[in-house]
């Protein structure tokens, strides 16, 4: 483990997840309060447990070595099979973003700042390894800044997301990563164990798809807070324990759906930059305005959990390649050059679930999503699908402006539906 530099870590900031006066002053409330707030809004009893876990903060206490990952581009099966506990570190904690501003000031995406700001909460101390995929610029560059705080593995990825051009590179890079992991943790997992991890992921996928379907039909029962918090739990819980939490929610939603009818509220597709607990500002504005989320395309939920691992060649390299195709090949992240895929996915979801429009969420200063925004606006205009773009960050000061936009959008949708 490397020696840590003082500049990254600041001991007087040793704040546990949410009891900071500064947070309260900034209007950002701590995790328990946030979780309790959304637990109150939930219609499902089974979600209580989920919110309790979310309130504990994203770093689980475990005897396994914690391997931090960013994005969805690192197959967590490879981490789990080596005995590690994968932890997706992407966070949208406003307090962390402010801390991160001290580490990397300047015009940088708030999500990146928040990840750096985790250093102030001593998260990197608890990690055994941090795997950073060379996805967007922000994520690739912070590997250097964070290297004094933690052991970093930079997973190199080609710019093009085209299977024909890049699949061999993905396979090679992931095989190298796997070799690194095996050496680091001194294990020799068998193919059977790898397949077991893949099957575990697929079991989770099956349940998630059912959740996704029932949410699109009854977003009034399984509201967006519940859905995103449940997805958020998969950031630090392996599939088995996630399933034990998600299945009761699913069953309760089915039961509730049988006994009631959907009030004809507007349902939209949520696309764009991820929304991660506790930054549910936009979700609250949407739900309060009566604009329910019928489907989403975000990497914090759909992109993470919707697709299975399809193993055709069950040699070791074949399984690694299958993981690459699922996590990297199928990724919708705009950091890759994959023209048109995002638009197709959006239009497909709108048509498949009969949604009324698209709400495109972006974080300020995120270039890739910004450029995709223009492309999607044009694509949806061609298909006569109403489109609303929201550009915001983790602060609370623009809630009024968001409300105006969302309410105006709702007026557009209501008029269209007459």
């Amino acid at each position: 483990m490397m020696k840590k530099q003082e500049g990254i870590k600041s001991s007087h900031h040793k704040i546990p997840w949410g009891s900071s006066v500064k947070e309260l002053q900034n209007g950002i409330i701590d995790y328990s309060t946030v979780a309790a707030r959304y637990a109150d809004k939930s219609a499902l009893l089974a979600m209580k447990k989920v919110y309790e876990i979310a309130a504990e903060g994203p770093v689980p206490s475990t005897s396994q070595p914690l391997v931090g990952c960013l994005c969805n581009l690192v197959p967590e099966e490879l981490v789990r099979v080596c005995g590690g506990r994968p932890l997706r570190l992407c966070t949208e904690d406003g307090m962390c973003a402010k801390d991160g501003d001290e580490i990397i000031p300047g015009d940088v995406c708030p999500l990146i700042k928040a990840i750096c700001g985790l250093a102030r909460k001593d998260v990197f101390e608890r990690l055994d390894l941090l795997v950073i995929p060379a996805a967007c610029e922000g994520k690739s560059q912070i590997s250097e800044i964070l290297s004094p705080a933690c052991q970093i593995y930079l997973l190199d990825l080609p710019r093009s997301n085209d299977y024909l051009k890049s699949a061999n590179a993905w396979e090679k890079n992931l095989a190298e990563f796997y070799r690194f992991m095996r050496n680091r943790y001194n294990v020799k997992p068998s193919r059977r164990e790898l397949m077991r991890e893949c099957r575990s992921t697929n079991a989770r996928t099956k349940v998630f798809r059912e959740l996704y379907q029932v949410r699109s039909e009854r977003p009034d029962i399984l509201n967006s807070f519940d859905y995103f918090t449940l997805s958020y739990l998969s950031f630090f819980h392996p599939p088995e324990s996630w399933l034990s939490l998600a299945l009761p929610v699913l069953q309760e939603t089915f039961r509730a759906a049988e006994n009631s009818v959907f009030p004809g509220l507007r349902r939209v597709l949520l696309a764009g930059a991820p929304i991660i607990f506790p930054n549910y500002k936009l979700l609250e504005v949407l739900e309060n305005a009566g604009c329910l989320i019928g489907a989403d395309m975000l990497c914090s939920a759909y992109g993470r959990l919707y697709d299975p691992v399809e193993v055709d060649e069950d040699t070791e390299r074949g399984i690694i390649r299958a993981l690459a195709l699922r996590y990297i090949g199928g990724s919708l992240c705009p950091c890759f050059v994959n023209s048109g895929k995002l638009n197709d996915a959006a239009i497909n979801l709108v048509r498949e679930y009969g949604l009324d429009g698209v709400v495109y969420h972006n974080l300020r200063l995120c270039q890739p999503y910004d450029i995709r925004l223009t492309m999607m606006r044009q694509a949806t205009k061609k298909e006569n699908i109403p489109f609303l773009s929201i550009k915001t960050d983790f602060g609370q000061e623009d809630i009024g402006q968001l409300k105006t936009r969302v309410e105006a959008f709702l007026e557009v949708l209501t008029a269209q539906n007459k």
């Binding site: 055709d312 069950d314 070791e316």
Partner: protein, 340 residues
């Protein structure tokens, strides 16, 4: 992984096909070794004056071992042809063309077979290769063995497959040319050496008799030509088997039977269609294709994506993670689709 409905069905069909091709002739035989016409296919009897195989040299590699020229007789072991007592019905189309180019058979005896062949191809395209061909089934078995042994796949670049296909045209062309040449009366004396030139080197000749527990005729070093054919046959068999430890279905790019079947892939009854808007471009379909095809991945239109190389194994449809993205149709009626 999840239920592989299509693959399981395909395996069952492959096994049944081997059994039928090897032993099925027994269903139609009248009497073994006699010249009696088959009672089921009178129209398919051999024409008068056809060159009898009795004039062939004994011990030609075309005959499985033993004195009796078994080639013209019943199975087992002879998936290449189904010919109870001199009839014309053949299983392998290349054997059919080769033989009749040499014997200059009258077209009226060829029409039933050609019609049946064309009809089957029109309905099913290249499904023979993926679902029926016995050496294809052997290949799939070898692939499973390779995976068991954890030998990674070597993916060949596209140019390699194109090169094989061009060679396949060459192989078929040369074989037909030789067959036609030795049919010319002044060159008939070469028939005993050059008869069925492709069949002499085809890997099926050495593999399929084993299904019938018959020893294949491994070698004939009596004359130069036979020796050359013997060595060529070994080389082809060696490459055939070895290729399965590096790739999947490599031989199928070279096989002349597959080549002829492939001409019918465009416009046949079995259609593989893509609904492009559902595609997430993960590449699983192209990755799983044993023929290394990529059109199902590349295309952005809602179209039929079967190429000439497609053996209709439908692995692409099976591995696609998005419901309804890839589907199998039979004359526009949907049979099955990708699902999870």
């Amino acid at each position: 992984m999840r239920t592989k409905r299509i693959s399981i069905t395909r395996r069952i069909v492959q096994v049944i096909s081997i059994i039928l091709l090897v032993y099925g002739g027994y269903l139609f035989k009248t009497k073994q070794g006699t010249d009696a016409q088959t009672k089921f296919f009178p129209a398919l009897s051999a024409p008068q004056g056809a060159t009898s195989t009795a004039s062939f040299k004994k011990g030609s590699i075309l005959w499985p071992s033993g004195d009796t020229p078994v080639l013209e007789n019943y199975p087992p072991g002879l998936v290449c042809r189904f010919n109870p007592n001199g009839g014309m019905f053949k299983a392998c189309i290349v054997h059919f063309f080769s033989e009749n180019l040499t014997w200059r058979t009258h077209i009226k005896y060829l029409l039933p077979h050609i019609t049946l062949f064309v009809l089957l191809c029109f309905l099913l395209g290249r499904m023979w290769c993926g679902w029926v061909c016995p050496i294809g089934s052997v290949g799939d078995f070898l692939t499973a063995l390779r995976r068991r042994m954890n030998l990674s796949l070597k993916r060949f670049p596209n140019g390699f497959h194109r090169g094989l296909r061009i060679s396949s045209y060459g192989l078929l062309g040369i074989s037909c040319a030789i067959s036609a040449f030795i049919g010319i009366p002044s060159f008939a004396r070469y028939q005993c050496y050059f008869f069925l030139p492709y069949c002499q080197v085809c890997p099926a000749r050495l593999i399929c008799p084993m299904f019938g527990f018959i020893k294949p005729n491994w070698k004939d070093f009596s004359v130069l030509v036979s020796s050359v054919f013997t060595i060529l046959a070994w080389v082809v068999l060696g490459l055939f088997v070895a290729a399965f430890f590096f790739g999947r279905r490599v031989w199928c790019h070279l096989c002349p039977v597959g080549l002829i079947n492939s001409w019918f892939n465009w416009g046949c009854g079995v259609e593989l269609r893509k609904n492009s808007i559902k595609c997430i471009k993960c590449g699983s379909c192209a990755d799983a294709c044993p023929m290394g095809l990529t059109r199902m991945y590349k295309t952005d239109r809602n179209e039929i994506y079967t190429e000439s190389g497609c053996i209709m194994c439908m692995r692409c449809v099976e591995v696609c993670p998005r419901k309804g993205c890839l589907s199998v149709h039979f004359f526009k009626k949907k049979i099955t689709q990708s699902h999870f």
